[in-house]
């Protein structure tokens, strides 16, 4: 399905462009000459057009939905990765306890002993959406498990994203480009990566909300109607409730307005749209508990406020300009500007001092905090991943951008800004590829649409006299309407005619074929990437034998389920924060730290425990009431994402908070290498993480070519094979040793010594006879009273 939808849609689009231009021509001919010779076969083009669009959109939805089901078909309907487990758990809580209980939920199972106020620290949009769907289905007595709702939510929403992308692109360019864009976004890997079935994450629904908000914004700028703006605000509210990325909207829209002002494109429509949007949107966004008063306090939202003030001032000046003479106006203008500048300056200084703008530059500092840097999706994007996620679109979207800038109008200013800012953000963080993807799809669609229009729609144009065409166009454009007629490229007619004539039918067909080839390759690439890179649940691993049979490594669930069934209900499990959500979701046990990394010092404490030696770690663990420690160890099967490979981040984060106790350099060899074999640093070889990972691994010989204790992940024989624990004991190890759980022992009633007791009151057998004379002996007391202190113990029996 997915493989064919790309080129198919291309063809449809091409047909469609024909139909579109035919419709245009038909209309014009009817108005001008009254003789509709062109209408020919297409008696009702509008009907055909909507049928085609509907079909294409439906197919795009279907293709997008089904290409996201790889993981479900290969494995099962299961929640993927890490964060989705938390979302699933809280959705489950919402579905079983109700909305208010969810808003007031204090989760005592996370961040022991602090706990977490879930209702106030999540974007509830995702959970509420899934919970609502579940509720409606159950109202109708369609018994669907909440898990299945969660698993299939993102694929369903991808269809809605395709539709809103279609709407937005249609507003920007024409319907043909819109359909292409819908097809692109349905299968593009950059978006699929976050919306496969099972990936129950905020982004899955947020991209829909983002695109839909932008569509409504463009619509409201175009119409200047309060109705559309209110719709836009509601959509924005949904976005705020769904994802922290709403900040992107609240910065991009003011930027759009600002640039429009700079470009002298101010109009009453913009004024109405932005004033309504800012006020209503602000109030709505503050209804989300997690957002609260941030929109009026933090720096991320200040641009919106500034533009709002600016727009009011601008509108006021416009008003004054009508009323005053030029001279008066100028003095007033200068006075006003200097006054405003002074007020803004002073208030910023004041607020910074009082600490209300605590996060002023925090955005940029965040990148250098190790805990944020340690997340792989916060790394800068490489060129490879641009190509991997967007394929041909990354090459064509600048062309689309160029078309937009060439034929600029209000909404194309918007899309240009959208593209530029998204490209910047995507370059900063891999994760933000997601915001780039939709705009790339739209602009590429515009580029493709344009090319096809030129190379496929030739017959119609030749039959129609070009002069009439141009005059008609100009007539339409001139009466104050700033917007392009959709589907028409603004090019001088004679120029256009020249280029058209320069192209023979052969070249046209070759170009068309090439384009279709590209689209086909894009579709193939998308399917391949989806199938191979983005459809692994990561909770369940699969390996393939030589004969093609599949082995499922279900170690994670094995260990989590063991925890769930065979430990005390209130047992506290310490693990690195990556596994916090999974432990809470699957094992249903209390965790110390989890993927909501809000408390750096707590994480650092866990990191410190992991990187200290056993005795020091035991003290930390006792102070945190830890009952079990869970680690991931991939040395047996060669799983690279295990805790030893993440270990340096633990050390770094611990060092950040406890620089006296933990030093990163201690864990390297003098040559600056991080190695686990004999040459590794002794601090590493004796730290808790190392010991827990390799406990009894030294005895294990995996195959005959390698020595016992050979770590397959790091391809080294481990350096410390004689590992013994004093305060811990192995509680569980999964089948492939992937998950190891240790029990932290309680303090013994009487501590046993690990060495022989030192005997202090032994009189040496041979009495030491001093060569010194009695006189020289220092401190010698004559006739000293000798006390007999009991019997001398026999040394051998000790």
């Amino acid at each position: 399905m997915a493989e064919h939808s790309g080129p198919d849609s291309g063809k449809h689009k091409a047909n469609h462009a024909n139909a579109n231009s035919a419709a245009l021509l038909h209309g014009r001919a009817g108005a001008g000459t009254g003789a509709g010779g062109l209408s020919g076969g297409l008696s009702q083009p509008a009907g055909w057009q909507s049928l085609l669009s509907f079909t294409i959109l439906f197919l795009a939805w279907l293709a997008g939905f089904s290409s996201r089901l790889f993981a479900v078909i290969r494995f099962e309907s299961i929640i993927h990765e890490f964060d989705p487990w938390f979302n699933y758990r809280s959705t489950h809580h919402l579905a079983s306890h109700g909305f208010y209980e969810f808003l007031n939920w204090f989760d005592e199972r996370a961040w022991y002993p602090l706990g977490r106020i879930v209702g106030g620290t999540v974007y509830p949009g995702l959970m509420v959406t899934a919970g609502l769907i579940h509720w409606i289905l159950n109202m109708l007595n369609i018994t669907v498990h909440i898990r299945d709702v969660c698993v299939f939510l993102a694929p369903v929403f991808s269809g809605l994203t395709a539709i809103s992308t279609f709407l937005l692109t249609r507003e920007l360019w024409n319907q043909g480009a819109g359909l292409l864009a819908a097809c692109f976004i349905a299968i593009v890997p950059g978006y699929i990566s976050r919306s496969v079935a099972g990936s129950f994450d905020n982004e899955g629904i947020a991209i829909f909300a983002l695109q839909f908000t932008y569509y409504l914004w463009v619509k409201s700028v175009k119409t200047g109607s309060v109705f559309w703006t209110i719709c836009c605000c509601l959509s924005y509210f949904y976005m705020v409730s769904a994802w922290g990325g709403y900040v992107f909207i609240i910065n991009l829209i003011p930027l759009h307005v600002f640039v429009l002002l700079l470009m002298q494109r101010y109009s009453r429509r913009v004024y109405i749209a932005y004033s309504t949007f800012y006020i209503v949107g602000l109030i709505l966004s503050m209804q989300i508990p997690f957002v609260g008063f941030q929109p009026i306090r933090t720096s991320e939202h200040m641009a919106a406020a500034g533009v709002f003030a600016l727009l009011q001032a601008y509108a006021f000046l416009q008003y004054l300009r009508d009323r005053l003479t030029k001279q008066e106006f100028q003095t007033l203008f200068f006075l006003g500007v200097s006054l405003a500048a002074g007020i803004v300056f002073l208030s910023v200084i004041y607020l910074t001092y009082t600490g209300d703008f605590a996060n002023w530059w925090g955005v940029y500092a965040k990148i250098h905090i190790p805990i944020i840097a340690s997340v792989s999706e916060h790394q800068p994007t490489t060129w490879v991943s641009f190509f991997f996620d967007l394929h041909i679109l990354v090459c064509t979207f600048p062309a689309g951008l160029w078309f937009c800038i060439k034929n600029i109008n209000d909404e194309r200013v918007f899309v240009a800004l959208y593209a530029i800012s998204a490209v910047y953000f995507a370059g900063v963080m891999v994760r933000l590829m997601l915001t780039l993807t939709p705009v790339v799809c739209m602009l590429s669609a515009i580029a493709f649409s344009n090319v096809f229009e030129h190379y496929l729609g030739d017959d119609m144009k030749r039959e129609n006299p070009p002069v009439e065409d141009s005059s008609d166009e100009d007539d339409k454009r001139n009466p104050g309407n700033l917007y392009d007629k959709a589907g028409k490229v603004r090019k001088h007619v004679s120029e256009q005619e020249k280029t058209e004539e320069g192209l023979g039918p052969n070249i046209k067909s070759i170009v068309t074929m090439l384009m279709l080839m590209l689209l086909m390759m894009f579709a193939v690439h998308c399917t391949w990437v989806t199938s191979n890179a983005y459809s692994s649940p990561s909770v369940v691993l699969a390996s393939y034998n030589h004969d093609g049979t599949r082995n499922i490594l279900d170690d994670f669930r094995e260990a989590y389920y063991w925890l769930r069934q065979n430990t005390d209900e209130h047992a506290r499990v310490m693990s690195w924060w990556d596994y916090g959500y999974q432990i809470a979701g699957m094992a249903n046990r209390t965790t110390l730290v989890d993927n909501n990394t809000w408390n750096n010092s707590h994480i650092a404490l866990v990191g410190k425990a992991m990187s200290s030696n056993e005795t020091a770690a035991y003290e930390i663990m006792r102070s945190l009431d830890v009952d079990y420690v869970l680690i991931i160890f991939g040395g047996v099967i060669g799983y690279s994402g295990d805790d030893i490979n993440k270990f340096l981040w633990m050390v770094r984060i611990a060092e950040g908070e406890h620089p006296k106790d933990i030093r990163e350099s201690d864990y390297f060899t003098p040559q600056g290498e991080f190695r686990v074999d004999k040459a590794g640093s002794p601090t590493l070889l004796n730290c808790l993480m190392y010991k827990m990972s390799y406990y009894r691994f030294g005895e294990m010989q995996l195959d005959f070519r390698t020595p016992p204790g050979f770590d397959r992940t790091r391809n080294a024989e481990i350096g410390n094979k004689d590992i013994k624990f004093k305060h811990l004991e192995e509680a569980f190890t999964s089948e492939h040793w992937l998950v190891r759980i240790y029990k932290v022992k309680k303090l013994d009633n009487r501590e046993t010594l690990d060495h022989k007791p030192r005997v202090t009151n032994i009189v040496p057998k041979q009495k030491y006879l001093s060569k010194k004379t009695a006189k020289r002996k220092r401190g010698y007391i004559k006739n000293k009273l000798t006390l007999k202190k009991g019997k001398r113990p026999n040394r051998k029996t000790v």
Binding site: E76, I78, R557, M586, F732, S734
Partner: protein, 496 residues
Amino acid sequence: MQSLIGVMLMKFVLGQVKGEEEEENTLEVRETKVKGKSGKFFTVKLPSPLVPGAKIRVSVEMVFTHVLQPYPTHITQAEKQFVVFEGNHYFYSPYPTKTQTTRVKLASRNIESYTKLGNPSRSEDMLEYGPFKDIPPYSQDTLKVHYENNSPFLTITSMTRVIEVSHWGNIAVEETVDLKHTGAVLKGPFSRYDYQRQPDSGISSVKSFKTILPAAAQDVYYRDEIGNISTSHLLILDDSVEMEIRPRFPLFGGWKTHYIIGYNLPSYEYLYNLGDQYALKMRFVDHVFDEQVTDSLTVKIILPEGAKNIHVDSPYEINRAADELHYTYLDTFGRPVIVAHKNNMVEQHIQDVVDPAAEARMKVACITEQVLTLVNKRLGLYRHFDEAVNKYKQSRDISTLNSGKKTLETEHKVLTSEIASLQSKLKTEGSDLCDKVSEIQKLDSQVKELVLKSSVEAERLVAGKLKKDTYIENEKLHSNKRQELVTKIDNILDAL
């Protein structure tokens, strides 16, 4: 006639008494009480009273649960599991016992200690006490054996079995099982290394077990709260579906797990119907593993929406809870759910439960319904014949009349004999409806006579032997009589 020995430890589960003479017969067993004695007592009804001095052989099969106590109660991974069995040396009965031999068969040869009453002989894994002579009634003496037993002590601590009957021809069965290893509790660490490398490490632990599902089971799933359990194998045999179940992790002493297993069955194998009445015949509890012990079981039977007059027949006593309603698949007023509980069950309890209508009642109802249809058919035959007579009157063709007569005769014969056989069946069922049916038969023969008479008269009319007026008069008379008889029959049928 069996009682509990060591009340604290044992629970009596099932007393099945078999008379062993020529053929095995299961005897009727009922629980009773004996004054002044604790424990459970049962009366057994012999098929024929025993003459003084005569002999009869009775074998008693008893199954006890949770009798073997692990001792030591906690063992490490490397240790073997030892258990203590406590029982009675003597046969506990209200009658004096003349001679008795007690044999104890153990799971292994490794015996730590055993009570030495009467110097028992020991061979391999067998202990033999006695023979004891002339033991007074109610005598007790503790028998105690401490021996190695590494068999997995799996217990189903609770199980919910949901049977969802759909009128689309499917029965969905889902069992939610809580399992626990009730043997000696694991002490100290669990080492995966030892478990993988040393064959006798964790010898009493449970790696996997087999569940036997019905042969028609389809779409089997095996999962728990966090998804599919990928460690299972399905083997389709001729007479069953064998599922090798491996819990996510090996079960050591004291460890527990929880899973859901479900499958679909075609309803034609279990659901019988007659007209609008349906009977579901399914096992109350099904096989989970060999020698299974279920501490508490809840069975829920979800019937299709609109099922009424529900009746449950069980082979043994069950506790019915209040019926519930279940909503699914766009239901409007909900599906009735039968809920039943039973505690402490073993493998021998795998027997059928019938629902919703009692079979005997069903049978009677079924037969009467058949009678109804047959009688109606017979009445229909007369009508047909009347038509034939009328035709004959018009066409004056003797052949139509004759052929009509012939068919009437043959079909009437068949139907009457069928009704008669049903009548005899009803008699065997002991139903009073039998008399009513015979009455119908009597009335029917009168009707037949009348019918034939009228046909003869019609013949005579056609032949000109009879005047038209007299014929009409006679005909009127006949028809009136017939009407009377038919209404009588109808009344009886309605009463049925």
